[in-house]
Subunit: 263 residues, 2 copies
């Protein structure tokens, strides 16, 4: 009986290895009422909400890996995550079921199978973040959760010129809060572009780079505002000293959108 059972057990293992599948998910979320992508201190998280909906739909525990963690209050127009299943699934039906279960602040935009080598975080070639500055004298009620209302008079030419000094390959230690336990981490990143785009009631800063350190976009935005008001001046100096204290404070989370990830 034992001899007869062995080949059958091998066959089951073999079969399960073949149908192991990896899936890529693109999702949008309004981060206003969430504790961020990854939950901390028992706050409700985007990742947790999606994992719960997936687990309910598929009747098994499912973990997802996001391209990057967004903080509490930060939004995403196209966050990417991957997950693995050991059985094939009807993706169109799964997407519809997930969107039916998820709160209306989170929506799965697409779901597709990807090769096993794909990794939402490590396969990313570039990421684009948008930061919305609201500059009207009276803040619009409709922008309160989706922009930073800056009352001060800003010298936009100074800010554009400072932004140009950030383009290229730099050690961005001065612009990250990653120091805690991460002193050895390579903090060199390439910022491909930092564009100022006029929009109704303000300006959108478009950041595109090969990767971003923790709070890097918000710290750069906060620093550019300090440069716009004349409190700070030299980006090359701030970059050179490799010290977070040399840069400006972080811009608030609600103005930040993870806009696009390229693979």
């Amino acid at each position: 009986m034992q001899n007869a059972g062995f080949p059958a057990f091998c066959l089951i293992l073999f079969h399960r290895t073949i149908v192991w599948m990896k899936y890529k998910m693109i999702l949008a979320y309004d981060g206003t009422s969430f504790g961020g992508w990854q939950s901390q201190h028992n706050s409700n998280s985007i990742q947790g909400s999606v994992e719960q909906a997936l687990s309910t739909c598929l009747r098994m525990p499912v973990s997802i890996t996001g391209a990057g963690r967004t903080d509490a209050g930060v939004h995403a127009r196209a966050q990417v995550a991957h997950f693995c299943l050991d059985l094939p699934t009807d993706l169109l039906r799964l997407k519809t079921s997930l969107n039916g279960l998820l709160p209306s602040q989170i929506r799965i935009l697409s779901l597709e199978s990807v090769p096993d080598e794909f990794h939402a975080r490590y396969s990313a070639v570039s990421k684009t973040y948008h930061y919305h500055l609201h500059l009207d004298p009276v803040p619009s009620p409709f922008k309160r959760c989706y922009s930073w209302h800056v009352k001060k008079n800003l010298d936009l030419d100074r800010m554009r010129s400072a932004a140009a000094d950030l383009i290229g390959r730099h050690d961005f230690t001065s612009f990250t809060n990653e120091s805690r336990g991460n002193e050895q981490k390579n903090k060199v990143r390439t910022l491909h572009r930092l564009d100022f785009v006029e929009e109704i009631g303000g300006i959108r800063l478009e950041f595109e780079g090969d990767g971003f350190l923790y709070k890097m976009v918000r710290n750069i935005t906060g620093t550019l505002i300090e440069i716009g008001t004349g409190k700070l001046s030299s980006i090359p100096l701030i970059l050179a000293v490799l010290d977070r204290k040399s840069a400006g404070p972080a811009a608030p989370p609600q103005g930040l959108f993870l806009h696009r990830i390229v693979y």
Copy 2:
């Protein structure tokens, strides 16, 4: 003593008559979490919030009169209200104080003194409402409170043609829910334009007219959707029967914005 006091009392009355002032206020609000412009059933109202802030700032009870009542969940980019004070006031300081006291969902955009003949409701020459239809296959989390997500396939040409039949001077009885106790009210209004404007993720219906009956914009929008899906067809017939039951259901409140009032 009585004779000497009489002229002094008259002088005070005379003085108070001279400085009686009327003020016009333009305000924007996100109606998502409010029970409408005017409170009902003890829900929190826009009018109540503004009156409370005004009364706090001016240390006396102040009532405001709005150009029109918006329902729960309906928004305004430029609602107009007037109020009267029997003393002059620093309008710039008052605007700043009000915006400091009001919740961030409500903002006073401007405050100016107006002639005594001005009335926020009766002096209005035209009003413009926008209704936002969201037509993407998956609803955006950022539009959930500011549009109506319509999943059905719509024949937009049919809808545009039907909209053209609404332009002009008509009895809009079929498109209002005002019947309760208002049977004698004149329900003839002039719709100057009803434009379809493409925007990201959908279409904006722009209604401009000399005045709008209760729920008229939402009832017209709901009817146009029924025409777009083929459930209803003839606007002239719906107008002619003067019966609310002949038109389609009201579109939900969150897609509606009071956009502009001309005096």
